[in-house]
Amino acid sequence: MSTQAPVAPAPAEGTAPATTFEPVIIGFTCNWCSYRAADLAGTARTKYPPNVRLIRLMCSGRLDPTFVLKAFSEGADAVMVSGCHPGECHYIEQNYKALRRFQLLRRTIESLGIEPQRLQLVWASAAEGVRLAGEIARVTEEVRALGPLGWPVGNLVDIDDVDLDAAWQATGGDAGGPPPAPGGVNPDHAAETAQ
């Protein structure tokens, strides 16, 4: 992990040496396989740790990378992405796209100073409640071993204090698009205007 990154995880100072750290994990499941697997685990009363909280998407291909980053920024200690097994996607092949995003995201979070193991990919078919439960238990234990996600403490700029428009103007407008102006102006045109 890069040490020059300014947001490298700082040791969690001040926090008492936790007796047991209970991680909070966000799990993304697809409507057809992994969510059904979670349902099946429930129906069969298969036990797993209560640390994971599931979100249902129609397909793992729906996983916007923003969702994962959002979960980390909101305080999740780990994110589990789950979908149908390769070759068994309800939407033919969209889980492969989830797989690609997963791999890119792992690199991205590593460069942000987050251990890549905090993002996990689990395939589970609708019949694999036991497998899903087992994987949740495994992920929970791995994250517990990693400890809390060590976001840096202090010295951060509050985004609300930043004049985004000024910052945008200063960069010359090529660092992305400005927020869509009221009235739905095409951002490309808006960018031109900004210049």
Partner: protein, 714 residues
């Protein structure tokens, strides 16, 4: 229980105060979000682990800032009084969002959406979050489960704030139906629908319909002859005016959605003109080429290179086996053509592709038998007198290769002793864990047939006897009374290495008799392996083609294993018979009829409501980069050259949302699972820590909920 108190909640979760100010009882202000929260006990199913009273109390107080006007808990939310709580509150308190914390949305989402709609609120403004399947049923720590329930509920509340009213998509139902697989389940389904007056395409990959049942001799427990009960059905299916029979054909591609599927069917060349062939059979008679029949006769008999699989085949039109036909091999012969009086032979016939439009699909593609060669110690394929159950069916069938004489592989000798081994490949962790359901009864039937045909001594080697359906156990009693010997134990080995007197020239079954508590060596002349059933080798391909899911074994998964056993998760695609797991004939027939009833219900409805989960492009935000165009697995996205933007064909969109996630400009919106809904749900889920207290977040400033919300509204 009501969270409708007056005192402001202490601090609450760290969220921005909504611009519209705190909720108040009475008429909702313009744009004010008023949420009702309902927490279900589900008897003790939820309340036994989750403190539902506490969850409701917490929601009423801590989530008051987030628009929760009322939070109640109730014993059974799905009951009429439970639903009435929702409808009454919508009317009395002016609620405009509903969150129910109960079971899985796959179970009761419609129940609560309907209740919401009854009170005049758009049903898609109701969210069902699962605190049963995902919480109380899978956790034992009550405090942790209660904290998790709060988090799940909070996620639902944040999500429902971003829900928008949606209208169900209404589609017409094409009355024609595709039935795939011409075994007994498929035939039954096709006939039920055809008899009701609607058109059916019955597609079968073999040359004749009939399936495995056509290979059997007798059927348990009544011992009526399989052909006698099956062939009238086959003939009906073949001659029914409402059935288009497509044998020697396979479905290669399926497009569309419930009510409006398009299927492409590959009709393989028979090299015989079906419209001219009279089915007289002279061609097969005159054909000089004998081929071992691996399919219908299980390798025990011969057929010709031009053949119908069996005498009662439907249709009677033969096919030419191109690999073995002398003409196709060497360019000469044409005996069949010479003798065909109706000039029906067409050596130049080509495969044909047919496209059909149908409204519903029934998959009845059946099973294949376990390959007994995989259990080397039973010697199948190595020891000549070890047979599979399918081979035994052909041996005992009077229309089979031996005309019904049960003989050893030499074709002459009748066995004096026969051993039938149960559970071959089933209930075995090395192969298939499941019970194949039919093997006990088929083994009993074999024992009876051996006695009847040869008078030989029969041993049945079983693990447990499973004779659970009507009249099955009586049949077991009857076979015991006939003198069949039962040994409880799974044989370790079948060998021809005799070492004791009386073992020479015999097959020795080495078995631990678990009732007698000792090892036994039982010499027999013939061993019949009662092999289990397994999914067809192409089961997973088939599932993908039709958009259904199957278990890791390969059996198709039902929509609900008990309450909806013939439906799948894909609307308009139904399953019947052994495609979803091993079944006997009565169950397969019942499922065929049940699937047909489901399809007929759909046809009678003429129209159906579909979930309005679709993607659409916001043209103003689209930069025309075309990244989404190649993402779509259904080719629903096309680039509009004139406008310079991409657009989505709503009829083709299946709602997976991949394009929504992929669009770098955020220009694609996905109804039902929008970015705003998911991001809000993440925020909601992470408001509560593992111990139930507000989650201590990083040093990052408070999350920016409202700007997101505002940006969306803009």
């Amino acid at each position: 229980m009501s969270g409708n108190g007056h005192q402001p909640t202490e601090g609450g979760p760290s969220v921005g105060v909504p611009a519209e100010g705190g909720p108040s009882v009475g008429v909702p202000a313009e744009g004010e979000i008023r949420i009702g929260v309902y927490v279900c006990h589900c008897g003790s199913n939820i309340a036994g682990v989750v403190d539902v009273v506490e969850v409701a109390r917490w929601a009423g107080e801590a989530l008051k800032d987030r628009g929760v006007v009322i939070a109640r808990e109730y014993r059974f939310m799905c009951s009429s009084p439970g639903q009435d709580l929702i409808t009454d509150d919508i009317r009395d308190l002016g609620l405009n969002r509903i969150v129910v914390a109960a079971c899985s949305p796959h179970l009761h989402e419609n129940t609560f959406r309907n209740a919401t709609a009854r009170a005049g609120l758009n049903p898609y403004l109701c969210e069902l979050v699962s605190i049963r399947e995902q919480d109380s049923w899978v956790h034992t720590d009550k405090a942790a489960a209660t904290a998790k329930a709060k988090a799940i509920l909070s996620g639902g509340v944040e999500r429902v704030r971003r829900n928008t009213p949606l209208d169900a998509i209404i589609v017409d139902i094409n009355a024609a139906t595709l039935v795939v697989g011409g075994g007994i389940a498929g035939i039954q389904a096709a006939l039920e629908i055809a008899d009701a007056g609607f058109h059916v395409y019955l597609v079968e990959k073999d040359a004749s319909i009939g399936g495995h049942m056509a290979q059997f001799d007798k059927t348990f427990p009544t011992l009526d002859c399989a052909a006698c009960i099956l062939t009238p059905r086959m003939v009906s299916a073949g001659t029914h005016p409402n059935v288009t029979l497509l044998t020697w054909s396979e479905v290669t591609h399926v497009d569309g959605y419930v009510g409006n599927f398009t299927a492409t069917i590959l009709k393989k060349a028979r090299y015989v003109d079906e419209s001219l062939c009279t089915g007289c059979g002279v061609c097969s008679e005159k054909c000089p080429k004998n081929v071992i029949d691996e399919v219908y006769e299980a390798g025990l008999g011969y057929r010709k290179a031009i053949y119908t699989p069996f005498d009662q085949a439907v249709p009677r039109t033969p096919v030419i086996d191109r690999q073995n036909c002398t003409y196709f091999e060497k360019g000469t012969c044409k005996a069949c053509e010479k003798f065909c009086e109706s000039n029906a032979i067409r050596f130049d016939q080509q495969d044909e592709e047919i496209t059909i439009n149908i409204g519903n699909i029934i998959l009845a593609t059946g099973y294949e038998i376990f390959d007994a060669r995989r259990i080397a110690q039973y010697g199948y394929g190595r020891l000549p007198n070890v047979f599979t159950s399918l081979e035994f069916e052909r041996l005992s069938n009077s229309a089979g290769p031996t005309n019904g004489r049960i003989v050893l592989r030499d074709g002459v000798t009748e066995p004096k002793t026969v051993g039938v081994i149960h559970c071959v490949g089933s209930r075995d962790r090395n192969f298939n864990n499941y019970c194949s359901a039919i093997c006990c009864m088929q083994s009993l039937k074999f024992a009876h047939l051996v006695k009847e045909h040869t008078g030989a001594t029969v041993y049945n080697f079983y693990i447990d006897m499973r004779t659970v359906a009507k009249s099955y156990d009586e049949f077991y009693q009857r076979v015991m009374e006939e003198g069949t010997l039962f040994v409880r134990g799974k044989p370790a080995e079948v060998t021809e290495a005799g070492r004791l007197p009386g073992e020479e020239g015999k097959l020795i079954v080495q078995v631990e008799d678990t009732l007698a508590g000792r090892q036994r060596r039982i010499p027999v002349d013939m061993v019949v392996l009662s092999v289990g059933l397994q999914p067809r080798a192409d089961a997973k391909e088939l599932a993908t083609r039709f958009g259904i899911s199957c278990s890791s074994d390969g059996w198709a998964i039902e929509k609900h294993p008990k309450l909806d056993p013939v439906a799948t998760m894909t609307e308009g695609v139904f399953i019947a018979g052994c495609v979803s797991g091993p079944k006997d004939i009565p169950s397969s027939v019942a499922q065929g009829a049940a699937a047909a009833a489901r399809v007929l219900g759909r046809i009678q409805m003429k129209q159906m409501n579909l979930e309005p989960i679709k993607a659409s492009v916001h043209a103003d935000n689209c930069s025309g980069c075309r990244i989404c165009n190649t993402m779509c697995p259904y080719n629903a996205i096309s680039f509009q050259v004139a406008a310079g933007v991409s657009s989505i064909n709503a009829a083709m969109c299946q709602g997976c949302g991949t394009c929504v996630a992929a669009c770098p400009a955020g220009a694609i919106a996905g109804t039902g699972f929008s970015d705003e809904q998911v991001l809000a749900q993440i925020e909601g889920l992470l408001k509560v820590g593992a111990d139930g207290t507000p989650l201590k977040r990083s040093a990052f400033p408070e999350a920016h909920h409202e700007p997101i919300e505002e940006a969306v509204r803009a």
